[in-house]
């Protein structure tokens, strides 16, 4: 019977796998068979960006009461979470919705007896060394008196290795004493590289450090190999969807509708151009004017060169090329190869936008 059981389970697994791949190919097929929608994002009548930003601050939350009840229901799990931490496990919270408020509530109501450091992983860049220094200082306060006396190098001059070694070897009087590190979005952009994850894993394996982390990305577990996940972090998973809006977490993401709008590009282009030399600006103007008068074709480089030379904007091809490189780096200019094999330059902006840009820089 057992045998059969397992077989069935295996089959189920297989079926799941099959289901998954089938779904993937169905989705692929759907794209190719159904005629790809030709609609452009620019077809949406996007309101002014300013208005959009204002509106996004005014969005009415939905299900506020239900969410409050849900959050409240998680408080009954606080003792269990505390027990897990005290027994040496780390907590990993996942599920849809911002878990920032939940975790900080847990930390400030239940972990009062322990020091708590919060890392905001959703930010773009995090200096882990500073965090380690702060942790080392916190832990240092709890150290055995005699060890405290011995002269030590100040933490901020020590290397990552030294700091981790210190944290790893620190002995504290009370065995049930630890510093809790809350990491919002351990899968966030600032912590996403493998080196940082390795450091975090090593931090997590220190005797007097406990981690409470949250993830939002469905593939976040791929960061960790088995050693990290099972022995260093030692996660206990808790599924705690909150449905709270990702206010702070989403702050650094561009608004998708604002992203491609014309006004946006105008501003971008104008800012870049203003930072360039007057000659470079003039070269751009030549190109822009040509494009306005010949909207459907690009400008051959040789033509551009001769016009610029006539106007004393450049003296040789090298100077022109350096200007063009600058433009290309900022995506102000693109090269297209035309049917006759000639490289043509064009500016990836609409005529309207181009006129606005010219106005801005003149």
């Amino acid at each position: 019977m057992n045998n059969n059981d397992n077989w069935e389970e295996d089959e189920e697994d297989d079926e799941e796998d099959m289901e998954f791949s089938r779904n993937y190919f169905l989705a692929k097929e759907l794209t190719s068979s159904v005629k790809k929608s030709k609609h452009k994002i620019t077809d949406i009548d996007v309101v002014d960006e300013q208005e959009l930003r204002d509106a996004s601050l005014q969005i009415q939350p939905k299900h506020e009461n239900e969410i409050a009840v849900l959050m409240d229901s998680y408080t009954s799990m606080y003792p269990e979470w505390l027990l897990s931490l005290r027994c040496g496990f780390a907590l990993l919270m996942y599920g849809f919705g911002s878990k920032k408020a939940l975790i900080e509530d847990f930390a400030s109501t239940t972990l009062t007896e322990y020091s708590v450091v919060v890392i905001n992983g959703y930010l773009q860049a995090i200096n882990l060394k500073q965090v380690l220094i702060a942790l080392a200082e916190l832990l240092c306060d709890q150290l055995k008196a005699k060890r405290k006396v011995s002269g030590r190098q100040p933490f901020n001059t020590q290397s990552m290795e030294d700091l981790l070694t210190f944290l790893y070897e620190a002995e504290v009087e009370d065995t049930d004493s630890f510093v809790c590190v809350v990491i919002h979005n351990i899968d966030g952009p600032g912590l996403r590289d493998s080196e940082t994850q390795q450091y975090l894993a090593r931090l997590a394996s220190c005797t007097h450090i406990r981690i409470v982390a949250s993830i939002d990305h469905v593939n976040a577990p791929l960061f960790w190999d088995k050693n990290m996940a099972h022995t260093q972090f030692n996660w206990c998973w808790y599924h705690v969807p909150t449905f709270a809006p990702y206010k702070v977490e989403g702050m650094f993401y561009p608004l998708i509708l604002a992203h491609g709008s014309a006004s946006q590009s105008v501003k971008t282009a104008a800012i870049v151009l203003q930072s360039l030399t007057p000659n470079a600006q003039s070269v751009f103007k030549v190109l822009a004017e040509y494009q306005i008068s010949h909207p459907d074709e690009g400008m051959p480089i040789s033509d551009l060169y001769s016009v610029c030379r006539e106007r004393f904007l450049v003296s040789n091809q090298v100077t022109l090329n350096s200007h063009l490189t600058e433009f290309k780096d900022h995506e102000l200019v693109k090269t297209k190869r035309q049917s006759d094999g000639q490289d043509c330059l064009h500016i990836p902006l609409t005529t309207d936008a181009l006129q606005k840009v010219l106005l801005e820089i003149s």
């Binding site: 959009l52 509106a55 969005i59 905001n120 993830i215 939002d216 469905v218 702070v248 998708i256 995506e331």
Partner: protein, 790 residues
């Protein structure tokens, strides 16, 4: 104010779009991170700087009720990190106080009701809770420490012979290396290698084949090896493949090596000569230096090659011996190193035990022989087995799963606290729970209630518990006997273990024996004596084992019976039965051997021998059958088993194996099940405007292929959000306050800007969860779906 802010933010986004400026932003961030205090200064001084404006922007976007929150919250949100609070000083004298309070409570408990003021009650409750948790932790610590040390011992025993071999080899290698040329003091203190002949020295290299796909288990093994060698007078350095990376380079490796041998005390310019002079020191000299690298295949070949070439030049002054963990085959070094590096190595091969062997040894000690009273139920066992065999395959994660099970057991079953105490002290007296509470919990145990109903004996708890222990002992003996027999048919212990725990099979085993009608089975009703044993009929692993025993050749059968004798030695009940079996078998053996010695070639004789040995095989089966029927009682059928046996497989699975990929999608698609709101459950699967924006959007995304056209997506979102607007207006049964809110909603929520903003936020949220990928430059109008199917 807001307007100006918004304008600034636009600039910020601008900067993010352009690569060079973008990197500028990052670098500014870094600076801001280094000096968090600077941010506010920057904020004040300049509003045009992109970063400053980003941070400036933050204040309005943080929760609307900023007033009710401490002002620092919004600021903290944008700090890379901050200290939420420091440990309160209360905890310093917490433990003794609690102990004291507890004692008091126990002594005074009858009088407590008299002084039941409200405040005191709540503090008492709090105190109880804390005390309870303290007890849980103690119990967990006691049980887990025991299990852990048992596992450690098991693994050490398993590895002992390999470790001894390696240590012998290290000594030999060291002595030979030294014989090659002992450097004179003058030579040894020079800061360049000794090169007395043109060929570089040979490095003794052990290739330890781990026979394991995963390296996690081996990390521990190699750590143990390091400790073992240290205790046998070697200097040991452990480096991992992370040190041997291109990024680290040879300098990084060297530094790591020095750190391992010398500790932290060396300056930045240190090189191998530092190591050589350290080795010359009195305490360090005359001991072999061993470098262990536990995952050879993951190292960067070129770095490791350089490192080896360097070491081989210094080998006279620094007699270092290498130990590599090899996960694949002995050929691995040949694939990694070029020939001139291979020439420097003098390899020997060692084999570690396989994960399966380790697993079996651990299961025997921890779960079958019960080093503690902690136990797992059938379903949990099956989960662990499937997890080990189908998904993970590492002993490490099996142990971890066991640890989590143990933790959950103590956190969920109040009576489990008895457990830890039973191990260390005598039973009830100090179990931490008063007898009254204990019996209260007892009554709640389903198994106890069941038992009470079935037989009205009302056994006392002590009896129940001692019976449980006895039955467990018998059970584990039977499992061990079966396992011993199973070794001949390659039945895995985990499979056997799961089957032995299965309560469903137990009663059938018990009753099948006599009631079976042979015709039903379609078997020719021969006079095959095997038919009478249920053990041969039931199917499954036990049956498999029994069948193998039936066909065992006599020599092996004797071996098996001998091993049974050892297992059953201190269980008199079973041992007696074994004695009977032994006497009958040995009697026949005696006879047959006598005969066979007369004339082996005669067929008839060999037939007789055959028949007789078959008879003894049958007797062995009868013995097994008897054991299985009478003693293989799964613990879950016993009263009080909840105290010792963890069986909440769902909970374990949740905590052990997170499944964010599936669950986050389910959260979005079936959010109603979680929130349980009254507004969204009316019309089955149809999308309602009251639903969560991200849920609506993700449900809509399901209808697209792997690319979602942003325009179409937005339009369908807009349609859903705007539908029923009129209907909602008609429904005016709501309370005035909610009506008012709705009106506000409509004015604020239904306009174009708001819908677009909601759409943008939905996309951002799905992007955070990783379910959609942003438009690429090639396809600016499409986002890409990442997940297909739940």
């Amino acid at each position: 104010m807001r307007k100006r802010d918004g304008g600034d933010l636009a600039q910020v986004t601008v900067t993010i779009r352009i690569p060079p400026l973008h990197s500028l932003v990052i670098s500014r961030h870094n600076r801001a991170n280094l000096l968090p205090a600077l941010i506010s200064e920057e904020e004040r001084s300049s509003t045009t700087k992109p970063v400053a404006t980003v941070f400036n922007r933050m204040a309005p976007s943080s929760p609307i009720n900023t007033a009710s929150q401490p002002p620092s919250t919004a600021e903290n949100d944008i700090q890379p990190f901050f200290v939420l609070h420091k440990a309160s000083h209360r905890r310093k004298d917490r433990t003794p106080v609690r102990q004291g309070k507890y004692r008091k409570r126990n002594e005074v408990s009858p009088e407590l009701p008299q002084s039941s003021k409200k405040g005191e009650e709540s503090t008492n409750e709090e105190c109880d809770r804390r005390f309870c948790q303290q007890m849980q932790i103690e119990a967990f610590d006691i049980v887990w420490t025991k299990i852990e040390s048992t596992i450690k011992d098991v693994l050490r025993d398993l590895n002992a012979s390999v470790f001894n071999n390696i240590q012998q080899w290290v000594l030999e290698g060291y002595n030979t290396t030294r014989l090659v040329g002992e450097p004179s003091i003058a030579e040894a203190t020079r800061s360049f290698p000794v090169l007395n002949n043109t060929t570089p020295g040979k490095l003794y290299t052990a290739l330890v084949i781990t026979r394991n796909i995963e390296f996690v288990d081996d990390i521990v093994t190699f750590e143990e090896l390091g400790i073992f060698l240290k205790s046998h007078g070697c200097h040991v350095a452990m480096l991992s493949s992370m040190e041997f990376s291109l990024k680290n380079g040879i300098a990084g490796c060297l530094k790591a090596l020095l750190r391992e041998f010398l500790g932290g005390s060396f300056d930045q310019s240190a090189d191998l000569s530092t190591l050589a002079s350290w080795y010359r020191e009195q305490d360090n000299y005359n001991k072999p230096l061993v470098l262990i690298v536990n995952d050879l295949e993951r190292c960067c070949g070129s770095v490791l090659t350089d490192f080896i070439l360097m070491l081989s030049e210094w080998v006279v002054k620094v007699p270092i011996i290498l130990i590599f963990g090899v996960a694949t085959t002995v050929d691995a070094p040949r694939n990694i190193f070029p020939s001139h590096a291979l020439e420097c190595l003098c390899p020997s091969t060692f084999m570690l035990v396989t994960p399966a062997e380790r697993m079996d040894a651990i299961v025997v000690e921890v779960l079958v022989k019960h080093c503690t009273t902690f136990n797992i139920g059938h379903k949990v066992a099956q989960l662990l087995r499937n997890y080990f065999i189908n998904q993970d395959g590492t002993v490490t994660s099996f142990i971890r799963a066991l640890k989590v099970a143990c933790l959950l057991h103590f956190s969920m079953e109040p009576l489990s606290l008895i457990h830890g105490r039973i191990l260390v002290e005598d039973q009830d007296a100090k179990s931490g729970l008063s007898p009254e509470t204990m019996s209260k919990y007892m009554d709640e145990l389903p198994s106890y209630a069941r038992n009470k109903m079935v037989d009205q004996t009302n056994k006392s708890m002590a009896e129940g518990l001692s019976e449980l222990v006895t039955v467990q002992k018998l059970w584990s003996t039977v499992v061990l006997c079966l396992y011993e027999a199973g070794k001949y048919s390659r039945v895995r212990l985990l499979d056997l273990f799961c089957e032995a725990l299965n309560q469903v099979l137990y009663p059938s085993r018990d009753s099948v024996c006599h009631t079976r009608d042979e015709k039903d089975h379609g078997l020719p009703s021969t006079n095959d004596p095997c038919q009478q044993y249920s053990i041969l009929q039931s199917g499954g692993f036990i049956c498999q084992i029994a069948r193998r025993v039936r066909d065992l050749p006599p020599g092996k059968l004797d071996q098996l019976i001998d091993s049974w004798e050892k297992i059953t030695a201190d269980i008199s009940e079973i041992h007696e039965k074994l004695k009977i079996l032994q006497s009958s078998v040995s009697f026949k053996d005696g006879k047959s051997s006598r005969r066979s010695s007369k004339d082996i070639s005669k067929r008839s004789v060999s037939k007789i021998i055959d028949k007789e040995s078959r008879l003894s095989n049958l007797q062995a089966i009868a013995f097994l059958d008897d054991l299985v029927r009478n003693y293989l009682k799964p613990i879950e059928g016993m009263p009080f088993h909840e105290i010792f046996c963890f069986n909440n497989v769902e909970k374990l699975q949740l905590v052990l194996i997170g499944d964010p990929r599936r669950r986050i999608q389910v959260d979005l698609l079936d959010f109603h099940d979680i929130l349980g709101c009254s507004c969204c459950n009316k019309s089955g699967k149809a999308l309602l405007p009251s639903m969560h924006d991200s849920s609506i959007m993700y449900s809509l995304a399901q209808e697209h292929g792997d690319l979602i056209n942003l325009h179409d997506w937005f339009q369908s979102f807009r349609t859903i959000v705007l539908q029923n607007t009129n209907k909602r207006k008609q429904k005016s049964k709501n309370t005035p306050s909610s009506k008012k809110r709705k009106e506000m909603n409509e004015s604020g929520d239904q306009n174009e800007a708001s819908i677009q903003a909601r759409f943008c936020r939905g996309v951002t949220e799905l992007q955070i969860t990783g379910l959609v990928r942003m438009p690429s430059k090639r396809r600016p109008d499409f986002v890409q779906r990442i997940a297909f199917g739940i």
